[in-house]
């Protein structure tokens, strides 16, 4: 077990450095530079651009810039933002909680709703109910998050005026849990609805497969109650594929939240990332990438370990 964890951790570390290198090169090689922010200064001269470029080290080759950044990172320094001049670690950490709250809420919601609906759909396959639910799942998984977000805002905020949508808190200054939950509802559903559709489809197909297995028939023959057959014997054996979807969907949902955060003005990493890319604020882009990479790699590692725990047939070797 410990060997397996060490091996997987080592692989995660290599992947982490690969990610940082890829993101650094992709962002710095894109046209535009942080110096374009200087265009806010209408009379900026080309001499000033050259001076600032040298000051920020942007006149050096990209690989030197990367290793300089990496060296600082390994010494615990993520640098300063090129636009706000604040420490990157401060800027990123004050935003990550908002993204995690939103993403985790969406994941929990999508599984709480998606799993039972998927099970119900699988119990009477090819019935009208199954067709309706499968069609719904198909539509839900295909709706773009931004469109869904706009529709939710229009219905619940503009027309019915029952739910807010701008940010995490309202102008009253109150930052209690109820205010947060009220603001969380719409963006959570905007991320969760497409995911619910995916979970429903996966659970349904896996349940259909498992329900034909011999051990399910045996359980029924032994007189186990139907709910026991479904939950204890059948559903338990669909958990592995569900966890596989989860490990794949977590990074996807963090990515998807970028758009939804923008639509709902949610103060998470998504809006910060968009602004940083627009202003070519490389230290912030790298700071966000580092944090998200760590969260995603750690999640994947946990999921891998969880596989073996749930299914003893999977060995660490």
């Amino acid at each position: 077990m410990s060997n397996y964890i060490i091996r997987r951790t080592a692989l995660a570390i290599i992947t982490f450095f690969g990610i940082t290198m890829l993101v650094y090169f992709m962002s710095t090689l894109a046209p535009g530079s942080p110096l374009d922010a200087l265009l806010a200064d209408p009379g900026m001269t080309k001499e000033e651009v050259v001076r600032r470029s040298a000051e920020l080290g942007l006149d050096k080759p990209v690989y030197i810039q990367y290793f300089k950044w990496l060296n600082e990172l390994l010494h615990g320094n993520m640098g300063y933002s090129y636009t706000s001049y604040r420490p990157v670690v401060d800027v990123v950490t004050e935003r990550i909680a908002a993204t995690l709250v939103l993403t985790v809420s969406a994941i929990v919601l999508s599984y709480i709703i998606g799993i039972p609906l998927g099970i119900i759909s699988s119990l009477k396959p090819y019935s009208i109910l199954d067709y309706i639910m499968s069609t719904l799942a198909f539509i839900m998984s295909g709706v773009p998050g931004f469109f869904l977000g706009m529709m939710l805002i229009y219905i619940f905020s503009v027309k019915l005026k029952i739910l807010p949508f701008g940010g995490m808190y309202d102008a009253s200054g109150a930052t209690d849990l109820l205010v947060l939950i009220k603001h969380l509802v719409l963006p959570t559903f905007a991320i969760a609805i497409p995911e619910i559709g995916k979970v429903m489809r996966h659970v349904r197909s896996n349940m259909l497969e498992v329900l034909t297995e011999d051990y399910v028939k045996t359980a029924r023959a032994k007189g186990v109650k139907e709910w026991g057959v479904i939950i204890i014997h059948a559903f338990r054996n669909t958990l592995i594929p569900i966890i596989t979807i989860f490990s794949g969907s977590f990074p996807f949902m963090i990515g998807g939240s970028v758009v939804v955060e923008r639509v709902f003005g949610w103060p998470g990493l998504g809006t910060l990332m968009i602004n940083s890319i627009t202003s070519r604020d490389y230290p912030i882009i790298m700071g966000i990438s580092v944090i998200v990479a760590i969260v995603v790699l750690a999640t994947n590692l946990l999921v891998d370990i969880l596989y073996a725990y749930l299914d003893p047939r999977i060995t660490y070797n």
């Binding site: 046209p31 535009g32 374009d36 200087l38 265009l39 806010a40 200064d41 209408p42 009379g43 900026m44 001269t45 080309k46 001499e47 000033e48 001076r51 600032r52 000051e55 300063y80 706000s84 001049y85 604040r86 800027v91 908002a98 709703i113 706009m150 939710l152 805002i153 229009y154 219905i155 619940f156 905020s157 503009v158 005026k161 029952i162 739910l163 807010p164 949508f165 701008g166 940010g167 995490m168 808190y169 309202d170 102008a171 009253s172 200054g173 109150a174 109820l178 939950i181 009220k182 509802v185 719409l186 559903f189 639509v263 003005g265 103060p267 910060l272 602004n275 890319i277 627009t278 202003s279």
Partner: protein, 569 residues
């Protein structure tokens, strides 16, 4: 976007009505049933919280009764939070909108071009136009109670010009004695800003400058910085100072807190020298401009001091409780032509492009009618506008003839770089592509993000691109676009006649002299175009009708006078 959703809803309702299927009550009921889960969660979370809602969340349908009240809180939408609260480090005017509530500037400009005193009570210029003297208001105090003095403005100039600092607004100081062309000063002893005494301040210029030019352009970005707090901070550390996380100013509102990406809260300055504001707290909410309309209609915002998307304007105009009006502005949008390219060197080609563009269609389709045709960077209402020139009439036949005369290769494909975060400019790009195709010019559109567009235009990697400027009543605003080898010369032309005229205009002291020079400047821009001026888009600030005495016309000068706003229930 909401304009589109609203139209879809209206179309659907009309169709259902036509078929006799429509019943508002039933429709609402079914919608609510279908989305039951959302409603339950929403209702639960709303339980017991109604009394805690801020006043800003009251119905937008309320009609002002004419009874003024002291407001607890108002929310203002802005498109982006300031990148920094260091006023010389702002990278966009979003910062200035918040700064105007916290800081004051020497003098403020109104829509009609008049100047009103603020930190300065009065001012006068020397006869040779090389010195301007301000007499500062002795009653102004910093938010910590310390008196504001001329030394604070001198210190601000030091911060803005110090070679060790990395400010983004250095060039606003480049007119001062002792600075180089970039605005860098290597010896503060020689810097042209002098505190004669605590309440008398002088700016000394390298070249003569009209008072109005200095006041309406350079001085509009001169914010005071508290010398008594920051005097010991090394200039090289100024931007990174913790002070900017909680700055103080002299303005009508005191910075309270900032939740990154969420809100910026400022509190009324009860000791403000122009009177206590009528609202206790102002909360700025950064959000996508596409969400402004929804936020106003849902009651989450009280005011948008930016412009709402022009496509949403008619929807907001018809919304009870909201004041939405398209107002003339000085903004201008232009198409750049890369004059470095051999095939654009012939002025007939550039003129042909100008004649081929159907500007009226751009205004109708892209701006929904909320704009006017542009013939120069100056709006026709500008006192310096040259009335002898008119927009090139849309004439594709004449344009094609000119191109043929100039020997244009009709097999050539040119690149038009544009970006898609500005709906009007995106529409203009498509219309121009079609207009040029009509005269046989093949245009390939490349949509990129804004920084990429800037680099491609500046480095001559594109043939055409679309950009815009905020404009000013003083024609000096467009000078930077004309500077050969200048960083903002997006047409990359080397002809110095345009810049020389603009520079002469900047240095002219009398209105008559300036009029004459800028007339010639605009004539040259018209006869031998480098930039193709497209349109002046209107400003569209929107606010609830419970806010009064709001100088919406002056917003284009970042002049919000929030201490004078009054409120009704």
């Amino acid at each position: 976007m909401f304009f589109v959703i609203k139209r879809l809803e209206t179309d659907l309702i009309n169709k259902l009505k036509g078929k006799g299927w429509f019943n508002m009550k039933k429709l609402k009921k079914s919608s609510i049933c279908l989305l039951l889960v959302l409603l339950i969660v929403g209702s639960l979370s709303a339980c017991g919280k109604k009394e805690e809602l801020p006043e800003s969340n009251t119905s937008t349908d309320s009609i002002p009764q004419g009874n003024e009240v002291h407001k607890d809180v108002i929310t203002i939408g802005i498109d982006n939070e300031p990148n920094s609260y260091h006023p010389y480090n702002a990278t966009s005017t979003s910062g200035d909108k918040v700064f105007d509530f916290i800081y004051d500037r020497l003098v403020y400009t109104s829509f009609d071009g008049s100047f009103s005193p603020r930190l300065a009570d009065s001012w006068e210029s020397s006869d040779d136009g090389k010195i301007i003297k301000f007499h500062l208001n002795p009653n102004v105090k910093w938010h910590d109670g310390e008196p504001f003095t001329a030394q604070d403005m001198v210190f601000a100039a030091h911060v803005g010009t110090a070679p060790e600092s990395t400010v983004t607004r250095r060039s606003y100081f480049s007119a001062l004695d002792g600075t180089d062309d970039s605005g860098v000063c290597n010896d503060f002893e020689k810097l042209g800003v002098v505190a004669v005494d605590d309440h008398t301040l002088e700016y000394h210029f390298k070249n003569p400058m009209a008072e109005s030019t200095f006041l309406s352009i350079d001085a509009q970005r001169y914010y005071p910085i508290p010398y008594h707090i920051l005097k010991d901070v090394p200039m090289s550390e100024m931007e990174k100072s913790e002070y900017w996380q909680h700055p103080i100013g002299t303005g009508a509102f005191i910075f309270d807190n900032m939740i990154s990406g969420e809100s910026i809260t400022v509190l009324a300055n009860k000791d403000y020298f122009l009177g206590t504001p009528n609202v206790e707290r102002v909360v700025f909410k950064p959000m996508s401009t596409a969400n402004y309309s929804a936020a106003l209609m849902s009651g989450e915002l009280d005011c948008v001091i930016d412009d709402v998307p022009l496509s949403d304007l008619s929807l907001l105009e018809s919304t009870p409780g909201i004041v939405a009006e398209s107002r003339p502005s000085m903004k201008y949008t232009y198409m750049t032509i890369n004059c470095e390219k051999e095939y654009f060197k012939d002025v007939r080609v550039r003129k042909a492009f100008s004649m081929a563009i159907n500007r009226s269609e751009i205004i109708n389709q892209g701006l929904y009618g909320n704009g006017i045709l542009a013939v120069s960077p100056l709006n026709p209402d500008n006192p310096y506008f040259n009335k002898d020139i008119a927009v090139d009439p849309y004439n594709p036949n004449e344009a094609k003839k000119l191109l043929e005369e100039a020997g244009w290769d009709f097999d050539r494909e040119i690149t038009f770089v544009s970006y898609n975060t500005n709906v009007a400019r995106e529409a203009a790009t498509l219309i121009i592509q079609q207009n040029l195709a009509d005269i046989g010019v093949k245009v390939k559109i490349q949509m990129v993000d804004w920084p990429t567009l800037i680099v491609m235009a500046r480095e001559g990697q594109s043939d055409l691109s679309i950009l815009g400027g905020a404009g000013s009543l003083d024609p000096d605003d467009s000078r930077v676009l004309m500077q050969p080898n200048g960083a903002q010369n997006f047409c990359n032309f080397t002809d110095s006649r345009y810049y020389e005229l603009a520079q002469r205009g900047r240095n002219a002291l009398t209105t008559e002299e300036k009029m004459e020079i800028y007339k010639e400047y605009q004539q040259l821009l018209y006869d031998e175009p480098t930039y193709i001026w497209l349109y002046h888009d209107n400003a569209a600030p929107v606010y609830k009708d419970t806010i009064q005495n709001i100088p919406a016309d002056d917003f284009i000068h970042l002049n919000f006078k929030a201490h004078e706003w009054t409120f009704t229930e």
